[in-house]
């Protein structure tokens, strides 16, 4: 009986975590310092084009060529990405991922490419 309760609690906790991630709850996890970070590539003329290349190579397979997403991967033209999330929030998400929900960490790209990708994502609104 105790085991069944434990298993039930685990399933509920997992379901809550998945629901929280898919609901954009990752935004609440971003530390204030990261939230306020500004994009050092914001004024670089070619940052959007470079970010688009990074997107095409690493992100389009899941989020779609037009950032439309699919049933498993969120679209990136949403209000959450374009308005609610700051550049710092997106940078934090790309570095840390949301691994419980299928989004890997992209820290291997390095900060410059991640910021270039943020430039591209924020240019989509």
């Amino acid at each position: 009986m105790k085991m069944n309760l434990f298993a039930f609690a685990c399933v509920i906790a997992l379901a809550m975590q998945v629901f929280a991630s898919s609901n954009g709850a990752w935004l609440t996890k971003v530390p204030a310092k990261e939230h306020e970070k500004t994009n050092p590539f914001r004024d670089h003329a070619d940052a959007v084009a470079a970010g688009q290349r990074v997107y095409k190579d690493h992100c389009s397979h899941c989020h779609g060529d037009n950032q439309q997403g699919n049933k498993k991967h969120p679209q990136l033209r949403s209000a959450r990405v374009q308005r609610e999330a700051t550049e710092g929030d997106l940078h934090w998400l790309l570095v840390n991922g949301s691994m419980g929900h299928g989004m890997p960490s992209w820290s291997k790209l390095g900060d410059p490419q991640i910021w270039q990708l943020v430039s591209f994502l924020k240019s989509l609104h």
Partner: protein, 299 residues
Amino acid sequence: MKMNFNFKLLRVGFLILCGAIFTASVFAQERPYFVTYSHEMEEPGNLDIELFNAVGTPRRGGNTFLGSNIEFEYGATAWWTTEFYLDGQATANDSTIFTGFRWENRFRPILGEHWINPVIYAEFEDTSADKALREVVGHDGSDDFLESNADARTDKEREMELKLILGSNYHGWNISENIIAEKNLSNDPWEFGYAIGASRPLGLKASAHDCTFCAEKFQAGVEMYGGLGDRYSFGLNDTSHYIGPTINWQAPNGLTASFSPQFGLNDFSIPRLYRFGLSYEIDQFLSRVTSGFRHGGGQ
């Protein structure tokens, strides 16, 4: 009649699989290590097919050999990567043989990126006469390669291998450390080993235009690995150690080519090893295969 149907189905399946493979390459951004594992996992749903080779000539008149693995690495989730290897080797003046298989799993117990990131690695291997040198443990050394293939094949190694992988990414650099513990499932003692590596892309910024030989397409670094003895004689002595520079290049068609000359650091080591590899990553492999079958079924 039924035979014909099965053959047709098999042929359609094979064509769909080939289509999935050759239309779905992705840029893998892999580290240039041959022995060291970084904490970075395979992206969920992607399949990485890798061919790694090691060429060397053992001391004391041993025959030159080529040890090879073909690896199928699949990202089961963002925190779990599973990998299946087939191993083989060819030895000059001797023979070319299949040496066995390995199945490994890597798990990231702590989600998110930290200043140091642990990964737990567990592997089962069933090999004999293996010369791919994917790790050095215990008192492994150049003399192990002097046996003929016929004799070496009789020594079946069914082993369980555990690794603690620690990795950090800092200002474009990746620094990885592996601690290895291996146990032959027969009554042999635990054996230990290590591997460390550091690497960095030659260019950190992405270019705004497609390019083939720009700096961002190359990663270079150094790796060092060796044995740490066994449970009864732990330490750096009486075992082999290697160090070498390593580099890879991301080709435009989704291939990554890697090369590393590596040098034995003591008399137990093979004096020089030349490692080279090719890898090709297929994005969202299972989705492509299943959607291929769905489309195939609708025709």
